[in-house]
């Protein structure tokens, strides 16, 4: 269900950067830890985009694998299950290195032909 709100957040971010240009493609980076269901996000994005500059735009998702970094021994490792303790030193001061992303990486916009060519 949160995909509806998240797709709204994506739309607002894109429209802010689009100016008044129509958007044909939105590239999104989504970390594994965000619990986002890609199909659901695409479904809602198409819905919230209706009547906006993003109507009909394709949503492209890049899933970023989750990796952690131990602040104590500086080990960096990828995780499959959510276990956040350092496997070598047992440290609890662990930062999420990747996997928390929910960012609009780029958009593709339609521009009118360049005026300078006239």
């Amino acid at each position: 269900m949160h995909e509806l709100s998240l797709s709204g957040a994506v739309l607002n971010t894109v429209v802010k950067h689009a100016g008044d240009r129509r958007v044909s493609l939105v590239s999104l980076r989504v970390g594994r830890l965000r619990q986002v269901v890609p199909d659901t996000l695409e479904f809602y994005f198409e819905f919230v985009a209706r009547g906006t500059l993003c109507e009909g735009a394709r949503l492209e998702l890049e899933v970023v694998e989750a990796s952690l970094r131990c602040e104590e021994c500086e080990l960096e490792w990828e995780i499959e299950i959510p276990a956040f303790r350092c496997p070598t030193c047992g440290g609890a001061e662990v930062a999420v290195a990747t996997g928390n992303e929910f960012e609009v990486e780029s958009i593709e916009v339609e521009e009118a032909a360049c005026i300078a060519q006239k």
Binding site: S5, S24, E105, S106, E108, E111
Partner: protein
């Protein structure tokens, strides 16, 4: 007509985070410590608030009730003579499954910030969506009741990962369940080693003093500016 790629690299939740920061600044100015209180539906959030909000030593507590619909929880708490403000998330169809920073912002004018030292925001019952949206809180507290099973930290890591305190509720039911408490605490430790944990029962009152003390302590630390 041609197509151009525009590089953006911007967190799509920036707008929410910016509003959350503005909320936090307003709460700080008013000297109000804010607790974002979350759990699955029926874990016992309102019951655990009923137990403590009226008598946290030297802390006047107010509650902001977030619900998809209705004001049943607000009515339960109003009997305790603490200020309760209702915020429904159902402006159109279905209703939002969480509170976001803007909804809390819209409720600011109705909150009696001058009359309270702490605001507990009771979020919509849900283990997924509320974890994504900051609302301007100082701390996050979640309730996980023993009837939900010991695997929940692994299934909802984002929620457990972002909490400062996990209240394990309904411990009076432990003799009747196959629930493995040690396993649950181990799972919490895997997901969020820094989280504090308190075992409580809203029904029997077990652990309630510690829960009340925790809130009192958070208010004190917040006054000293010791919460990032």
């Amino acid at each position: 007509m041609h197509r151009t790629k525009v590089r953006i690299v911007e967190d799509a939740l920036d707008a929410n985070n910016t509003i959350a920061q503005a909320n936090r600044a307003d709460f700080d100015r008013a000297g109000v410590t804010v607790v974002n209180f979350m759990s699955a539906p029926g874990a016992g959030k309102t019951s655990l608030l009923e137990r403590v909000v009226g008598d946290v030593p030297q802390v006047r507590v107010g509650v902001l009730e977030g619900d998809v619909q209705g004001s049943m929880d607000a009515e339960r708490l109003a009997g305790l003579h603490v200020p309760v403000t209702q915020l429904n998330t159902d402006p159109s169809f279905g209703g939002e499954c969480h509170l976001d920073a803007n909804m809390v912002r819209s409720a600011l004018p109705e909150l009696p910030l001058q009359e309270i030292d702490m605001l507990v925001i009771e979020n919509v019952g849900n283990l997924v969506c509320p974890a994504e949206f900051k609302v301007g809180e100082d701390v996050r507290v979640m309730v996980s009741s023993v009837t939900e099973g010991e695997d929940k930290p692994l299934k909802y890591p984002l929620m457990f990962r972002t909490c400062d305190l996990v209240l394990v509720n309904k411990i009076d039911l432990l003799p009747h369940l196959d629930y493995d408490l040690d396993r649950f605490l181990y799972n919490v430790d895997q997901v969020n080693p820094a989280a504090e944990r308190l075992l409580v029962s809203a029904r029997t009152g077990a652990g309630i003093d510690a829960w009340r003390d925790w809130l009192s302590d958070v208010a004190a630390r917040s006054r000293e500016g010791a919460i990032a």
